[in-house]
C-alpha cells in the first residue's frame, strides 16, 4: 500500500538522568516503521515517551540505545541530511514573535539552503496556499492564533520535506480520521500497532478513545 520505509526505528531507548527521580526510562525499546506516504500516529498518555521519541528522530536528542533511519539515512551519522528531510511542527508552534512571517519563513528556508532564487517562489506559493500574504509583513506577535498556525505550517513546509513530524497534545479524533496506522505507546514501550480497524478488532471497541483506554489497561495488566 505504501512505498519502502521512510522511517525505520529499531529498539530505540532513552534514559534521562533526573536529579530527583534518578534514571528515567522515557523510551524503552521502541521499534516501528513508517512507509513512504503513510501517516503514522504515535498515541499515548502523558509522559509515555512520544516527545522524546520524536526528538530523537529529529536528531535533537541522542538515543541511549538503538538506531533509526530516515529516508535511508542514519539519524546518528547523517544528522544534517536527516534534518533537511524533516518538517518539524509542534503544538506550541515555536515562532519568533518579533519577526514577520516573511522574515521567519525566509530564515528557515535559508537554514535549509534555499537561496533567493528558489526561496522567493516557494514562499509565494506557500503564502498563497495558506493565505498568509495579507499579514506577511506584520510582526507575529500581532497575529491571531489561527494566523500563527498557518505561519508555523509554512515554516514547516518551506523546504518541501519528504517527512513531516507533527505533534500536538489534543483531539484524539483527529488521529482517528487522519492516521493510516496507529502505534500506542505507554511508559516508553509500544503496546499495540495497527490500522484503526485492526485495533478495533483487537479490542472489540469502536471509538478510538475507548480502544486507547482498553489497550492501556491491557498494558497496565502487563505490569507496565
Amino acid at each position: 500500500m505504501f512505498g519502502p520505509d521512510m522511517i525505520s526505528v529499531r529498539d530505540l531507548a532513552k534514559v534521562f538522568q533526573d536529579k530527583k527521580r534518578g534514571p528515567v526510562r522515557a523510551v524503552d525499546g521502541v521499534s516501528f516503521d513508517v512507509g513512504r506516504g503513510e501517516i503514522y500516529g504515535l498515541l499515548g498518555p502523558n509522559g509515555a515517551g512520544k516527545t522524546t521519541t520524536l526528538r530523537i528522530l529529529a536528531t535533537v536528542l541522542a538515543p541511549s540505545r538503538g538506531s533509526a533511519t530516515l529516508d535511508g539515512l542514519d539519524i546518528f551519522r547523517d544528522g544534517r541530511r536527516v534534518r533537511q528531510r524533516l518538517g518539524f511542527l509542534s503544538g506550541d508552534m515555536g515562532l519568533y514573535h518579533r519577526l514577520t512571517p516573511r522574515e521567519l519563513v525566509a530564515f528557515f528556508g535559508r537554514l535549509n539552503s534555499l537561496d533567493g532564487a528558489r526561496l522567493r517562489p516557494r514562499m509565494d506559493e506557500l503564502f498563497s496556499l495558506l493565505g498568509i500574504h495579507e499579514f506577511a509583513d506584520t510582526k507575529i506577535d500581532k497575529l491571531s492564533t489561527g494566523m500563527r498556525q498557518r505561519v508555523a505550517i509554512a515554516r514547516t513546509l518551506v523546504h518541501d520535506p519528504p517527512v513531516l513530524i507533527l505533534y500536538s497534545t489534543h483531539v484524539m479524533e483527529e488521529a482517528e480520521c487522519l492516521c493510516d496506522r496507529i502505534g500506542v505507546i505507554h511508559r516508553g514501550k509500544i503496546r499495540a500497532v495497527g490500522t484503526i480497524e485492526e485495533l478495533r478488532a483487537r479490542t472489540g471497541k469502536s471509538r478510538l478513545r475507548e480502544i486507547f483506554l482498553d489497550l492501556l489497561s491491557l498494558a497496565e495488566g502487563d505490569g507496565g
Binding site: R55, V60, L61, G79, R80, F88, D92, Y96, R98, E103
Partner: protein, 389 residues
C-alpha cells in the same frame, strides 16, 4: 561547519534583538545617555559650587571680651564679613554665621577661639579662611615685635618650602575621567549583552523555539557561532557607543561654559578611543561567552536573570578595584580580567599606559575569551543543559 549557515543565524539574531525594547535600552539608549548626563551633571555641579564659593560672602560672628587690634581688618581682607555678635557659638549653630570668632583671655595673652560646624562644608571653608587670616595677623605681630627689638624678620623663615604639583592638567583630568569611564564601561558592556544572551538561550526555551531551531539543518556549532556573534556584537556595540558618547560629550562640552571646568583638558582623542576599543574586544568575547553559557543553563528569563546577578556583582567588584587611588597596572594585575580593562582605560586616558601592560591585558583577556568561548560551545552540545526539565 558552514560559516554561511552561522551567518544566516547571526543575521536573524541581530534582527530579532534590534526589535527588543529591553535590548535597545541597555545596548543603545543607556550608553548614549549615561556619559553626557554624568559628565554634564558633574560639570554643572562643580561649576556651581565653585561659583557659589566665589560669590557668597561668609558672615563671621565676632565677640571680643578684650580688644585685639587689626582683627576685623584681617578678616575683611580675607574676603570674610565680620559681624559683632553676643554669642558666636549660637550664631554658627543657628546658621546666622558660617563661623564664629571669640577673643578672651587677658590683654597680655589673648586667646582666640574659632567656632565651626564640620557638618557644613561652607562652615569648614569659612573657618579655614578665618584661621589663615589670624595666622597672617599673628605673623604680622611677630614681625613688628622683632622689628622693635631690632631683630631681622628673616629668623622667621630659616628656609622656604614650596609644593609643586607635577601632574599635568591633562593627566589629572585623565585620571578622574578614566576612572569613571573604566568603571562604567565594563558595567555597561555586561548589561548590554545580558538581554540578548538571555533572549537567545533561556528565552528560546521559554518560547519553545529552541527545539524547532535545533531540528533545522544547522549544526550545533553553527547555532552557537551565530548566537555568539550576535551577543559579541551587542556587547561590543555597547562599548563603541559608550566611548563615542564619551568623546562627543567632550567635544561638545568644551563649547559650553558650564562644562569647561571638566572638559577643558581634553584627554580623549581618536587614537585613545581606538586603543580602548581594541583592548575591549577580547573582553566582549569573554562577556558574551559567559553570558550565553550561564543563561543557557536556565529554563526561563527569570531564572537566567537570577543566575547572572552574581556575575554582575563579581564584575562590579573587579571594576571597583580600578577606582581605588594608587592602583597601578603592572604585569601581574594585568592578568586579572575586567579589572585589567577598567584600569587600562584609565591609564590610556591618563596617557600612562605602557605597551607591555596593553599587550598583557590584551593577551590575558584573549586567553580567557577563548576558554569561555569553547566552554559555551561545549554547553550548547549538552542535551542535559538544552533540555533541562
Amino acid at each position: 561547519m558552514s560559516l554561511r549557515t552561522a551567518w544566516v543565524i547571526y543575521r536573524k539574531e541581530i534582527l530579532d534583538l534590534l526589535r527588543d525594547r529591553r535590548t535597545l535600552i541597555s545596548m543603545v539608549v543607556l550608553p548614549l545617555l549615561v556619559m553626557p548626563l554624568l559628565i554634564g551633571g558633574l560639570s554643572y555641579f562643580m561649576a556651581r559650587t565653585e561659583r557659589k564659593a566665589r560669590e557668597t560672602a561668609h558672615p563671621i560672628a565676632v565677640r571680643r571680651e578684650i580688644p585685639l587690634s587689626g582683627l576685623l581688618e584681617a578678616l575683611s581682607d580675607a574676603g570674610l564679613v565680620p559681624e559683632e555678635a553676643p554669642e558666636p557659638r549660637t550664631a554658627v549653630s543657628e546658621k546666622r554665621a558660617e563661623a564664629g570668632v571669640e577673643v578672651a583671655g587677658s590683654e597680655a595673652q589673648p586667646r582666640v577661639k574659632i567656632y565651626l560646624d564640620r557638618t557644613r562644608t561652607t562652615s569648614e571653608v569659612a573657618a579655614n579662611r578665618v584661621e589663615l587670616a589670624l595666622n597672617r595677623l599673628k605673623e604680622q605681630r611677630v614681625r613688628e615685635g622683632l622689628h622693635s627689638m631690632g631683630v631681622s624678620s628673616e629668623v622667621l623663615t630659616p628656609f622656604a618650602v614650596e609644593k609643586v604639583n607635577i601632574a599635568t592638567p591633562k593627566r589629572m583630568a585623565g585620571f578622574f575621567l578614566g576612572t569613571l569611564l573604566g568603571y562604567l564601561m565594563v558595567l555597561l558592556m555586561l548589561t548590554g549583552g545580558t538581554y540578548p544572551a538571555i533572549d537567545m538561550t533561556a528565552g528560546e526555551k521559554e518560547r519553545r523555539t529552541l527545539e524547532i531551531l535545533l531540528a533545522a539543518p544547522a549544526s550545533r556549532e553553527e547555532v552557537v557561532l551565530g548566537k555568539m556573534g550576535a551577543t559579541i556584537t551587542a556587547v561590543f556595540v555597547t562599548a563603541i557607543l559608550t566611548v563615542t558618547s564619551f568623546g562627543v560629550t567632550f567635544a561638545l562640552g568644551a563649547r559650553v561654559a558650564e562644562f569647561r571646568a571638566v572638559t577643558s583638558q581634553l584627554p580623549v582623542d581618536v587614537p585613545a578611543v581606538l586603543l580602548i576599543l581594541v583592548t575591549l574586544f577580547p573582553l566582549s568575547v569573554l562577556f558574551a561567552s559567559i553570558l550565553l553559557a550561564l543563561s543557557l543553563t536556565a529554563r526561563s528569563y527569570k531564572e537566567a536573570q537570577s543566575y547572572l546577578t552574581p556575575l554582575m556583582f563579581l564584575v562590579i567588584m573587579l571594576a571597583m578595584v580600578s577606582t581605588l587611588p594608587g592602583v597601578e597596572l603592572g604585569p601581574r594585575l594585568a592578568v586579572i580580567p575586567v579589572l585589567n580593562a577598567s584600569q587600562l582605560i584609565k591609564e590610556i586616558l591618563m596617557g600612562a599606559a605602557s605597551p607591555v601592560t596593553i599587550a598583557v591585558t590584551f593577551g590575558a583577556n584573549l586567553a580567557y575569551a577563548t576558554g569561555a568561548f569553547l566552554y559555551a560551545v561545549w554547553m550548547f552540545k549538552r542535551e542535559s543543559v538544552l533540555f533541562r526539565i
